[in-house]
Amino acid sequence: MRISCPLCGPRDRREFYYRGAAVALQRPAADAGEDAWQAYVFLRDNPAGVTRDLWYHAQGCGAWLVVTRDTASHEILATELAAEVAS
């Protein structure tokens, strides 16, 4: 599996640390309540197909990426800098 880092180009999967579903970009407000926090921390769509997750280019440029990929085929469909997605 290769991930195309927007800054470094296509790189081996070994260079990246996986953080999980890209929910971290939708952190609820501190007082959003138990339901919102349970959903954020624990509940997942966990799709069999296209998903968006967070990868960290640990052995490269150190950027956090939002990777759109297919969990059934391992195909990487798109990569974006998390900083740009979040802003």
């Binding site: 999967r13 996986y18 579903a21 349970q38 959903a39 509940l43 966990n46 997750d53």
Partner: protein, 417 residues
């Protein structure tokens, strides 16, 4: 048909012409009291114990593929009761006791072999943690023996004890642990359930769950609608998809775990050996193949196959620990979809929708749980009360934070177990 030594002798002398299919291939009925979604180990054992313990026989198991095609036929077959936390301890202890009587109970040779499981330690801190774990196991009524270096050397003389990174200092030995023939476990439970009247319906994918006014009324399938009084979801790696049919979002992420087997060799590895620090474990099957694996690939996946980095890592860890296996040729590798929960422990619970029950979150350790999971899930389905041995496996622990069972103490968070 009962299996016995006599029967084998007779069939051997008469051209093996008297064997009959082990279960029927029935058409689905219009309605059942209970429908189990998923014909893996857990679904089959649930159906078996519903019929056997609770006299509930108007039951169907709906399997989208074939019996044994899921993780129950893909795992590395390790059975153990070496958990350290209340909630898990009593459950896996219960399961090990069921394993010990399983072949007589099912009249089926599941090749359960209590060859012992040895977890290696490499530092004083890890030894202390194993002492604590061993005491928890003994307190639970199971067995654990701490082996120092000399004692371990007598059991596993072939290890490379003096690797620079992880010198082997000893091991925690669990004599009652071991392995079983995974397919036979599925087949034995399938046969036992079928012979008690349960309909095992293969090639039947559940595509929808019917709910009316907060109560489950049946399921939609690739073979038509089936009404049901109660429905149990037992689909391992596919839990999120099937639960979504009922509008539920689960605390589950599906990950791929790979495993490997070599050509058959003469007996060389007598126990199950785990090298946690290297993420490597190994045993030898009765056919002689070295069966081994490591950690998850580490990203959400439904592909049932992994990637090369993990393959390399597992081979390297194996070579570091026991260089003697280097000449064995690997025959096959494969992957299965694991239903990973945030704290690494499972869920056996109601769902908030009346009549709909959930069994999931087995991570990479659900094979050893097959007997007790079915036993406890059947109890919940039949009586609406949790079985004492599985009372901790609540779905709401992630909401309340109460009763989180994080064996590895890494934090109850996705992607850490």
């Amino acid at each position: 048909m009962r299996f016995s030594g006599w029967r084998i002798l007779k069939e051997g002398l008469t051209g093996n012409s008297g064997w009959t299919p082990q279960w029927r291939d029935p058409e689905p009925k219009e309605a059942y009291d209970i429908v189990i979604i998923g014909g893996g180990g857990h679904g089959l054992s649930t159906a078996y114990y519903l019929a056997r313990e609770h006299g509930l026989r108007n039951v169907a198991v709906l399997e989208k593929g074939w019996i044994g095609g899921g993780n129950v036929g893909r795992n590395t077959t390790i059975v153990r009761a070496n958990y350290g936390l209340p909630g898990n301890s009593e459950f896996y202890s219960h399961s090990l006791k069921l394993w010990e009587g399983l072949e007589q109970e099912l009249n089926y040779n599941v090749m359960f072999s209590q060859r012992g499981v040895i977890n290696l330690y490499h530092s004083d801190g890890q030894r202390d943690a194993f002492v604590r774990r061993g005491n928890a196991m003994v307190n639970q009524g199971d067995d654990a023996i701490l082996l120092d270096r000399a004692a371990l050397r007598r059991k596993l003389p072939y290890l490379d004890f003096d690797t620079a990174r992880f010198p082997v200092l000893g091991g925690l030995y669990h004599p009652r642990g071991g392995t079983a023939r995974h397919d036979a476990v599925a087949w034995g439970y399938a046969r036992g359930a079928d012979s008690r009247g349960v309909d095992l319906i293969q090639n039947c994918e559940v595509t929808g769950i019917d709910i009316d006014a907060g109560r489950v009324t049946g399921v939609q399938t690739s073979r038509g609608a089936i009404r049901a009084g109660k429905v149990g979801i037992v689909v391992a790696g596919r839990s999120s998809q099937v639960a979504a049919m009922a509008g539920l979002r689960l605390p589950i992420e599906s990950h791929v775990l790979q495993a490997f087997v070599t050509e058959g060799l003469k007996p060389v590895i007598d126990q199950v050996v785990t090298f946690g620090m290297g993420h490597f474990y190994i045993s030898q099957s009765d056919k002689g193949g070295l069966v081994f694996g490591g950690d998850l690939d580490g990203y959400a996946s439904y592909a049932q196959r992994g990637n090369l980095p993990l393959v390399e890592h597992v081979m390297e860890a194996g070579m570091a620990l026991m260089p003697m296996i280097g000449k064995a040729r690997v025959l096959r590798s494969w992957g299965g979809i694991m239903d990973m929960s945030p704290d690494g422990s499972p869920v056996i619970d109601r769902t908030g929708i009346e009549g709909l029950y959930l069994n999931c979150g087995w991570c990479y350790g659900g094979f050893k749980a097959v007997p007790a999971s079915g036993h406890c899930f059947a109890h919940l389905l039949a009586t609406d009360r949790p079985h004492a041995a599985a009372a901790g496996f609540r779905l709401d622990r992630f909401r309340s934070g109460e009763g989180i069972m994080d064996e590895e103490a890494t934090g109850a968070q996705h992607n850490l177990h």
